[in-house]
Symmetry: C2
Subunit: 321 residues, 2 copies
């Protein structure tokens, strides 16, 4: 980002790093609810349509996600729709995704479009323009997008430039929570794992776009399943927001993610998808609520996660804004 672009960004009323801090403080917790509508796990009653009819299926996804949003909007700062499940329904799914994003924002939530997009130069700009920005600026109008770094710096800068221009943000994959992440991310380069190279780059971009609350608009995806690495990265990336997946279903606990936060309880948001939206399938909740009252299972699971993070991480220090 050059000087002129940075000035343009700072003139913008919105700054994703600051907006995320405000959203987290408003509800006094860092929970992101992942919207991963998987057909075979939807509550009974939503799956009367034929899964082979993309348009009916997309409509069921829209309805399901909107009902999840109704429950979680007063409780959490943000949702993260997973583009893959909407894309699985073809164009009809992408229409549904746009509706879900608009609905979430109307209810006061920030929206992270989990698309793990990547391309170079003006093609990366086209993705960013398509996905990011409010008020008629884009087709999906998300507040942030996830991005993959394999193509290098000239694939990340265009996303940051467009995001800055629109008051939006991005999260770059740095150290992910899946077992296969070892294949490339943990390879040793000059005595350090590869992901530290990506981390250095992202921190530089964050520093360059730092807002009033101390964090930039270029965040990092850092998995919950490697607490030691999370702690190292928090130290190495003091100006970078972390998006932490892997909580709950993937094995990460509140204790595991404690090191992701700064002392104010800012600096990280923690995603939970299946553990919240499909809570009605967990034995404990199934007994209490069943499929019929699945929305109450969503609420109970969200409140439980919030309580765990407040009890065991610096998120307990958050003061309401």
């Amino acid at each position: 980002m050059n000087k002129k672009e940075r000035e343009g960004m700072l003139k913008n009323e919105r700054h994703f790093g600051d907006d995320l801090a405000s959203a987290v403080e408003r509800v006094r917790n860092p929970v992101v609810v992942g919207l991963d509508p998987r057909w075979e796990q939807l509550p009974a009653g939503l799956t009367d349509a034929s899964p082979a009819d993309f348009s009916q299926r997309a409509d069921a996804y829209r309805q399901f996600c909107q009902e999840v949003i109704d429950v979680v909007a007063p409780l959490v700062p943000a949702v993260k729709p997973q583009a893959a499940f909407f894309e699985e329904c073809g164009p009809a799914g992408m229409v549904a995704l746009a509706h879900v994003i608009a609905y979430a924002q109307k209810h006061g939530l920030l929206v992270i479009f989990d698309g793990k997009r990547n391309d170079i130069g003006s093609t990366a700009e086209a993705y960013a323009r398509g996905i990011l920005g409010r008020e008629g600026q884009s087709g999906w109008e998300a507040d942030a997008v996830t991005v993959s770094p394999y193509l290098g710096a000239d694939s990340l800068e265009p996303f940051a430039t467009v995001a800055g221009d629109r008051g939006a943000g991005l999260f770059v994959l740095v150290n992910t929570s899946n077992p296969g992440s070892h294949m490339l991310q943990d390879l040793q380069v000059d005595g350090r794992p590869l992901y530290r190279r990506v981390a250095d780059y992202v921190e530089g971009q964050s520093a360059d776009t730092r807002g009033k609350r101390g964090y930039g608009i270029v965040g990092a995806v850092v998995g919950a399943t490697y607490p030691q690495q999370l702690a190292e990265l928090r130290t190495a990336m003091p100006q970078t927001w972390f998006l932490v997946p892997g909580f709950g279903s993937q094995g990460g606990t509140a204790k595991d993610v404690a090191a992701a936060f700064d002392q104010r309880g800012l600096g990280a948001v923690v995603n939970n998808s299946r553990g919240i939206i499909f809570a009605h399938r967990k034995p404990a909740y199934r007994e209490r609520f069943g499929d019929a009252r699945w929305q109450e299972a969503v609420e109970a699971a969200t409140r439980e996660m919030i309580a765990q993070l407040r009890a065991e991480t610096p998120a307990g220090n958050l003061t309401g804004s």
Copy 2:
């Protein structure tokens, strides 16, 4: 891919590695026309609509791409629509993309969906199911998709499994043609560049899915701008199809890509986007055809690239099927 999955794949009538070989032999050249509709470069006459109206813009992209397909379908084996430019138009763009893909296939072309998607496990499967497969199997029905490898093996296998099941293929980013590719891809790991690790993995997957013509369904994206690396990778990946970007506008020449082919002239397809679809803007063609006869510029540029590859690469050895 386990034994059962491999048997399922081989029972399938379609095998992407074989289908690509047949398509290349049918037209006796390896040219892929990249469909990157950029608003500001469209020929006059297609840009009467308002670019801010996503649905009008998407419709102009559809019309432009269909006219390109009308010209190139008898000449080349495949087209590669760039998803970013369609996504830039929001859901309407994704509808247009589905029309363009169907139109290309109806005219006998293979279609590579350039989406550089990536995610893990069942989420990666959802992307693959959404993008790949014919006859009502998916929303876009492409024959292959480009995929990014940063997340590791558990992000690539699900794509290969779904692709195999549907007679489709994928191309994994290995060594790309952009300047920023050095940031990660060229880092030294145990004395070799990182991209060689990805190359080894991809070759293993290709070997595992090898068809009758000697190539698997998991290809590699290898840039035209580093001829020496292209030659090394050809030797290291004898069963892997290469998708070679960077020809023309990005500086790669026919001589540069010669090492990408096997002696039959198979093993690589070479993409050209701007150099073909926006040929009417190049001085030489602008003079001859102008905006009004842009389709003739597309044809002339395609024929010129075919002639260059036949003259200077093993593609000259291709025998018609």
